[in-house]
Amino acid sequence: MPSLSSITTSLQAVLTQSHVLEITEHNIANASTPGYRRQAALLTAAVPSSTGGSEYVNSAGQKGGGVTIAKIQRFNLEFFDGRFRSVSAETKNWEAQTDILNQLEATLAETSEDGLLPKLDQFWAGWQSLASDPTNTSLRGVLLDDASALATAFNRRMAQIDQLRSDQNLSVVSQVEKVNSLADEVASLNAEIAHVLSIGEQPNDLMDKRDLALDQLSELTGSVSHEQKNGEMVVSIGGHVLVVGHEAIKLTTKPKAAPDSGMLDVYWADNQVLVPPSGKLKGTLEVRDQILVDQIAGLDTLAAGVIQQVNAIHVTGYGPTTAVPVPPALKTEDNFFTGSNARDIQVNNALVLDPGKIATADAPGQAGNNAVALQIAGLKTFKGMLSGTASLNEFYNAQVTDLAVTTQRAATNTYQHGLVAKALSDQRESVAGVSLDEEAANMAKAQKAYQAAARMLTTFDELLDLVINRMGLAGR
């Protein structure tokens, strides 16, 4: 017996299927949107009505009431999110280090002719040639050129490392700003999501947005998050809460203690120093505050070694125009180098003005005496570094190799963590990503169901037409 309620059931089916189509449409539209999780309608049969009490059919059971959408499901596995974020944070950490170290290696160019070792060799060779021909004034000029090239090489390296450090400092500031804005975004999304959930709806797209922000936050800082019962996310970095509820804690930057006051540290609002457990920020801080600082210390040690070893011999010697002290004394005004570290090493200007003061002899007034020049040239192989185990050249060779190994390790780690991150990201994508073929099938399914429901509607319409317009016409 056709009834008006059948039309309603059909209408409900038509509407539901068109809704399903809309969801498919939404999926297809967002097939390549970053952070988008596919959605699907969970269809369920509507509340059935009882057929009992009908005069023709007695207690046959309940009659189906058609279809309805129970929930719009969002495909996401929080388990994958957590694992993916921890690996991708580690990848970003190494990636940041690799980037900076590659820059450092390129600017130092130690394997080229412009490296510090060739300059050092050139300097020793300058002494060696002066020792083979101590009266040759042009060789003194050559030696001065070699020496000032060496000093400049030291100075330039320090300037470049300083520049690199202050670049990283700027990068830290901008990363902190980014963290603050992402934390604000998570906090305000928390508020919206909790509100939507509280009225019983499913804020799928807001959650996508929040997950994307959480991905970025952990890439920067290695933050971790967990969801609370009301749907809000609590975010923390290294055990310290960054976002709770709809409150975000603001990070600030403050200068380090002197003498490194040009560099900024990151602070929590309660004045604790932020130590990121992972992420790009960790990599940046590590290179800025450890690897580059070690390089500076190494260069300083090397420069101090060169200055002290050369000067100690040089002040005992005499050049053709060296003033002879009476009584005999060390002529500290005739130091070969001035300064005490890589930043301020310079060739003594007195020697530049009067190359005759370059000491070659170990006694005054002996033009052909080369004892001092020989001794200085011999420093090339003298093991005076690392408590007498390495020559100056070997010391720096070791430092170059150390840096190379560090850079290589950073690159290898980036690659390997990147592979894991990619695998995890694939797993996540496999669950949550949009497959167009699947959507095509879903679309066809919904379309056919829609068509069928519409046909049902027409059928009931015709049945009712029969009842209303064609029945009971006898005798008209």
Binding site: A31, S32, L101, N102, E105, A106, E110, T111, G115, L117, P118, D121, Q122, W124, A125, Q128, S129, A131, S132, D133, T135, N136, A361, Q366, A367, G368, N369, N370, A371, L374, A377, G378, K380, T381, N393, E394, N397, A398, V400, T401, L403, A404, V405, T407, Q408, A411, K422, D426, Q427, E429, S430, V431, G433, V434, S435, L436, D437, A440, A441, A444
Partner: protein, 319 residues
């Protein structure tokens, strides 16, 4: 595993990027013919290459030193040879002078003049220089070591009854011995100071010349003579010539030492370069083979990626 379109695209992009990186590395390797560009690409080889290069530069500067040293010592050898010749000529001349058939006057005009010439020559040789440096001056390479003069304080009587001042030679150099390094801990003495050997030699020649001028020929001394006779000066000249010869021999031995050091340096240099090439030069054949292989792989990757990205989707078949 459920594969989505985004995964296929991402994979394709990743594969293309990976392959391009490998391709670019191999291209750089073949183009530069170097095994690595930065130290981090191969820290072990880079470290070895740095220290080999440093050794090479050291060898280079030792080689330079050996060359200048050898130049100086060959000049010394030549000068000593000439001095020896002068010594032989002088002895010859003395023997002629000892011949009694000559008169004092003949000895003076013929022999003393020739002897004075020899003295001038010997002093000239004593003042030999290399690159403006006097090789027989000890450390005082910047000033002429031998200066001929006349001893104005001593007046002597010549064969003719006239008076003359004897000639005298001054040595202004010192006895400094110049050391050159031909390797770590390998020193060689490059010079031979003019004093005492050359100085004594010239002084002996002067003694001869004085004896000839005085007509002071034979032993025992005739009355009025105190200086050595011509006969005595013969032994003196012969012994100082022998001393020059001994010096020349010792210089020769040291020249050979420099030469062998120089040959050794050359050999080590070639071996070091060989080793350096093994450490840092790319194997061209291997590099090109790898490059070609990588190119083929890359083509395959592009082909596969193109299919993966533009793979037909269900939409193409549904109506």
């Amino acid at each position: 595993m459920r594969i989505t379109n985004l995964m296929m695209v991402n994979n394709a992009i990743q594969n293309i990027a990976d392959n391009q990186e490998k391709l670019s590395k191999l291209q750089t390797r073949v183009a530069t013919q170097k095994q690595f560009q930065t130290a981090s690409e191969d820290p072990v080889r880079a470290s070895a290459s740095l220290s080999l290069r440093s050794n090479l530069r050291t060898l280079e500067s030792y080689s330079d030193t050996a060359a200048t040293t050898s130049n100086w010592m060959n000049t010394t050898d030549y000068a000593l040879d000439k001095l020896e010749q002068i010594g032989i000529q002088a002895a010859d001349l003395i023997l002629r002078g000892l011949n009694d058939s000559l008169s004092d006057s003949e000895r003076y005009t013929a022999l003393a003049t020739e002897m004075n010439d020899l003295i001038n020559q010997a002093v000239e040789i004593g003042n030999t220089s290399v690159n403006g440096q006097f090789i027989f001056a000890g450390y005082q390479v910047d000033q002429k070591p031998f200066e001929l003069g006349v001893d104005t304080l001593t007046t002597l009587v010549d064969y003719n009854g006239g008076s003359f001042n004897p000639r005298v030679v001054n040595y202004t150099g010192d006895t400094g011995s110049m050391q050159r390094s031909l390797g770590p801990d390998q020193m060689v003495t490059m010079n031979m100071p003019g004093s005492p050997s050359i100085l004594t030699f010239i002084q002996d020649l002067i003694t001869t010349s004085t004896a000839l001028t005085q007509g002071n020929i034979h032993l025992p001394l005739e009355p009025g003579f105190t200086l050595p006779t011509l006969q005595e000066s013969l032994t003196k000249v012969q012994s100082s010539t022998n001393l020059i010869n001994a010096n020349r021999t010792s210089n020769g031995a040291r020249v050979r030492q420099v030469e062998s050091a120089s040959n050794f340096l050359e050999t080590v240099k070639i071996e070091t370069m060989d080793l350096l090439s093994q450490k840092e030069d790319a194997n061209l054949a291997e590099g090109i083979a790898l490059l070609t292989n990588q190119q083929t792989t890359f083509q395959a990757v592009l082909e596969v990626s193109q299919r993966a990205i533009s793979a037909l989707s269900l939409f193409d078949y549904m109506r």
